[in-house]
């Protein structure tokens, strides 16, 4: 692309791009997010290309590979524009039919449509799918409309308008004032007001100021930052550029884990494009603003998502947090004032500038404005990335958007906030989701992980799972975090093995207090949350393990036995054939039995039994 030397040139190029595109031209949009990649979207794309060529339609129909649409469970996702026909789970053999039927004759292929899990109704348009209908996709929505490797696509939807506006019309204090008034709070977990952070950084003395984008997302099962950076990298970069101008920074870093190859690739392409057209570098848009961004790939340590550990890692040192008695906005990267925000926070910035503070503050709750992207996973029908306005209830997210619990499962709890978050019981799912309410109930927003659990989930086992993660991912510097998380894991493991004793819960609580009060960084300070929140809401379940040597959810192997209900058993022999430890005995026409000594409680018989005859107690 040619150089864009001033705001007027930017608008001319934009008009040129928009003018050259026919909005009514048919376009096959194929999701190319990481989830759909795993489903084989690349080959589907190739098949579409080949099919269009075969049918001689290359000139008349466009193909666009886009970022993640969010409904990852249903991939590969293909949307036919301009009608917005939503096809899910598209395979290679469907491509020919889609081209001949839908694109040529405008016929809908029923089989590829999404059917409502409760009513069975077939839904044609993307916006009518319940998963999308309840969402407010102001940050994430463009992922599905643009090719992330095309700067022209981003410009066509109004990209870099906000940058141009701030560089020509607003002074840095005016921008900071806008961000402060917008109420934007950090989406990485802390929820600190972004505008206040920017202001402190701007006011901190120093010959150089840095801005950093934290893309070291590491919560198990969470991938919203990844999908945003993969699917719409320019929106993040534009936010960073506006922030840099407001703060007075000429150098920025994106710290992204190397396990996110598509994100690294797409954001690097975007940066190269910006340098080529002069939107990064010296004298941006002829306004005298200089700024450049470097991509720093992280090695995948969870603790490097902590701001001071992240900065140490960029400096080339081991990723270990340091005390923040002097804040990073005063002394951060290379001891210079540094402003760090997370991917999603940066992506909110251009939107606030373009649409204004009043519009932005109209979304959300009193103390949490805007939307939040959640990674909705676990025992829920519609797994994927969900963008909801702050204040939406967990019930609405799980049932209206998520489509409820699969099978006959009953919702038990929702774990939010990643490994250091907490479990919210079913009785509290009507609370509005915002930063403060989640903290009040003993959990946190974190970066937006949301794991749905049903009654087959053991809460002690869940706490153990998270502590296992944390004990390995603690950097190991603080005695309390290193030894404390390890000991908490040990106690939880003992309880799940049926060897827990009176006083274990109290010891867990005592340890939790010290680990959270005494550890240096937020990882340690929040590490006891999974234990504390499960004790708080599911103490009975802990007691059942310790006193009655029973796992009510039927998960902890040492505490359960498998048996066969003679009434239900038809002696079909399936369980006997599938049992890996030869624990099932029985002849034809005689109800079978399980030898508890031999049974390894793997659950293979349960999966296989058609008559619901296997009982776990």
């Amino acid at each position: 692309m040619k150089r864009i030397n001033n705001p007027q040139a930017l608008e001319e190029i934009r008009e040129e791009i928009v003018g050259s595109r026919d909005p009514d031209k048919p376009c096959i949009t194929i999701c190319s997010g990481t989830g759909c990649h795993a489903f084989g979207c690349e080959r589907v794309t190739e098949a579409f290309e080949a099919e269009l060529k075969k049918q001689g339609l290359e000139e008349r129909i466009d193909i666009r590979t886009t970022g993640c649409h969010g409904f990852c469970e249903r991939g590969p996702i293909v949307v036919i524009n301009p009608q917005k026909i939503f096809y899910q789970r598209v395979t290679l053999k469907d491509t020919e039919e889609i081209v001949s039927e839908t694109l040529r004759k405008n016929n809908i292929i029923d089989r590829l449509l999404y059917s409502h899990p409760q009513t069975g109704e077939k839904i044609v348009k993307e916006d009518d799918v319940p998963f999308y209908k309840g969402q407010m996709r102001i940050i994430f929505g463009n992922n599905g409309n643009i090719d992330p490797t095309s700067i022209e696509d981003y410009l066509a939807i109004g990209g870099y308008k906000a940058l141009s506006k701030v560089l020509t019309d607003l002074s840095p204090p005016e921008i900071i004032d806008m961000i402060k008034k917008s109420g934007l709070r950090g989406r990485g977990g802390g929820g600190f007001p972004a505008g206040v952070k920017w202001e402190s950084c701007r006011n901190a003395p120093g010959d150089r100021h840095y801005v950093i984008c934290n893309a070291d997302e590491g919560d198990p099962g969470a991938y919203m930052d990844r999908s945003l950076l993969e699917g719409n990298p320019h929106s993040v970069l534009e936010g960073m550029m506006i922030g840099a101008y407001a703060i007075g920074s000429d150098e920025g870093y994106i710290y992204v884990r190397n396990e996110y190859p598509l994100a690294v690739n797409n954001v690097s392409i975007a940066i190269d494009q910006l340098r080529e057209c002069g939107l990064l570098g010296e004298n941006i848009l002829g306004t005298g603003f200089n700024f450049d961004i470097k991509v720093n790939r992280g090695g995948g340590a969870f603790v490097c998502g902590e701001s001071t550990a992240l900065m140490a890692s960029i400096e080339g040192q081991a990723g270990e947090p340091r005390a923040k008695h002097i804040h990073t906005v005063e002394s951060g990267l290379w001891d210079k004032p540094t402003n760090l925000n997370n991917v999603e926070t940066w992506a909110n910035v251009p939107l606030i500038i373009n649409k204004g503070v009043d519009w932005y503050t109209s979304i959300g709750t009193e103390t949490s404005k805007g939307t939040k992207i959640f990674s909705l996973v676990g025992k829920v029908n519609n797994t994927g990335l969900v963008e909801a306005p702050m204040g939406m209830s967990i019930r609405e997210i799980v049932y209206d958007i998520g489509g409820g619990i699969p099978g006959n499962g009953k919702l038990k709890a929702v774990q939010t906030g990643g490994p250091s978050g907490g479990c919210i019981p079913e009785s509290l799912i009507d609370i509005p989701v915002d930063f403060d309410r989640l903290t009040e109930v003993g959990s946190m927003m974190g970066s937006g992980g949301m794991i749905v659990m049903d009654d087959t989930t053991c809460m002690v086992d869940i706490a153990k799972y998270f502590l296992n993660f944390l004990k390995d991912e603690s950097c190991g510097k603080c005695t309390t975090c290193r030894e404390g998380t390890r000991r908490m894991y040990e106690i939880l493991d003992i309880i799940t093995r049926g060897e827990g004793k009176e006083g274990d819960i109290e010891l867990l609580e005592e340890l939790s207090w010290v680990v959270s009060e005494v550890s240096l960084c937020a990882l340690g300070q929040t590490a006891p949350n999974p234990v504390l929140s499960t004790i708080r809401y599911f103490r009975d379940e802990y007691n059942a393990h310790i006193k009655d040597k029973r796992c009510p959810a039927g998960v902890c192997k040492a505490l359960i036995t498998y048996s066969i209900d003679e009434e239900k058993c038809t002696a079909c022999g399936k369980c006997k054939r599938v049992c890996p430890s030869d624990a099932v005995t029985g002849e034809k026409k005689v109800p079978h039995k399980i030898d508890p000594e031999k049974c390894i409680r793997c659950g293979a018989c349960i999966t296989e039994c058609k008559f619901d005859a296997i009982e776990v107690a």
């Binding site: 390995d472 030894e483 005494v518």
Partner: protein
């Protein structure tokens, strides 16, 4: 000078000093295992907890890396502090049940038999050896390896540390005495790091006094000293 109070007594510190330093200088007893006055504070052992009141907010914090600030009030002995220190000691004792300095602390704070499974480690991961090697000696021969519960200290990649000069600073500074130095007429070995270096004999008295490699290193980094200085032992110089 920056004025503040410790346990109600008015004390003074200089900009850049930390609370623990000033407290120790003024005779206050705050237990600590990872702090040394010649090294940058690290904040790993978490024992030097104090309560700091700044404005109307009181918080538990480590004193080794808390900068002295005008008007703050520091408490070194409260119920909260004791509760925190006792658990830190119990955790360390469970890790290192036979280490004298940890056993002494347990006795002082009336920490009995740990309620956790006992390990048999001799290192508390305070990082003093790693920091003295890097900050004072300047050879950076050892480092932290792994993370979380797998963390340990050792030479990078756990192979013979090629930059180690066997100076013994790590041996000297280790609070648990887990780094041993063995020496014969011809060799010196830092046992924990697996580093053995041949010794040089004094050109005057003939006694072997330091590893060749170490003297070579010093002669390169310290300027303005006659070349034969490094050939003689401390007594004969």
């Amino acid at each position: 000078m920056i004025k503040f109070t410790i346990d109600g007594y008015e004390v003074e510190g200089e900009k850049g000093q930390n609370v623990l330093q000033v407290a120790l200088d003024n005779g206050f007893d705050i237990p600590h295992l990872c702090y040394h006055e010649t090294l940058k504070p690290y904040g790993a052992c978490r024992l030097c907890q104090v309560e700091v009141t700044k404005g109307n907010r009181t918080r538990l914090t480590t004193s080794c890396n808390y900068p002295v600030l005008e008007g703050i009030s520091v408490q070194t002995d409260t119920e909260r502090i004791t509760r925190a220190r006792k658990m830190v000691i119990e955790l360390l004792l469970a890790r290192c049940p036979d280490v004298p300095i940890v056993k002494d602390l347990a006795k002082e704070y009336s920490v009995g038999e740990p309620r956790f499974k006992l390990d048999n480690d001799d290192c508390i991961l305070c990082g003093l050896c790693e920091r003295v090697c890097r900050e004072v000696v300047g050879v950076d021969a050892i480092t932290f390896l792994g993370r979380g519960s797998n963390r340990k200290v050792g030479p990078p990649l756990e192979i013979n540390p090629k930059t180690c000069i066997a100076c013994g600073a790590c041996v000297y500074i280790c609070p648990t005495n887990c780094i041993k130095l063995e020496e014969t007429e011809s060799e010196r070995t830092i046992v924990r790091w697996g580093r053995t270096l041949p010794m040089k004999k004094c050109t005057v008295c003939g006694r072997s006094f330091a590893p060749w490699f170490q003297l070579d290193y010093f002669s390169k980094i310290i300027e303005g000293i006659p070349a034969d200085f490094w050939d003689k032992c401390v007594d004969c110089r």
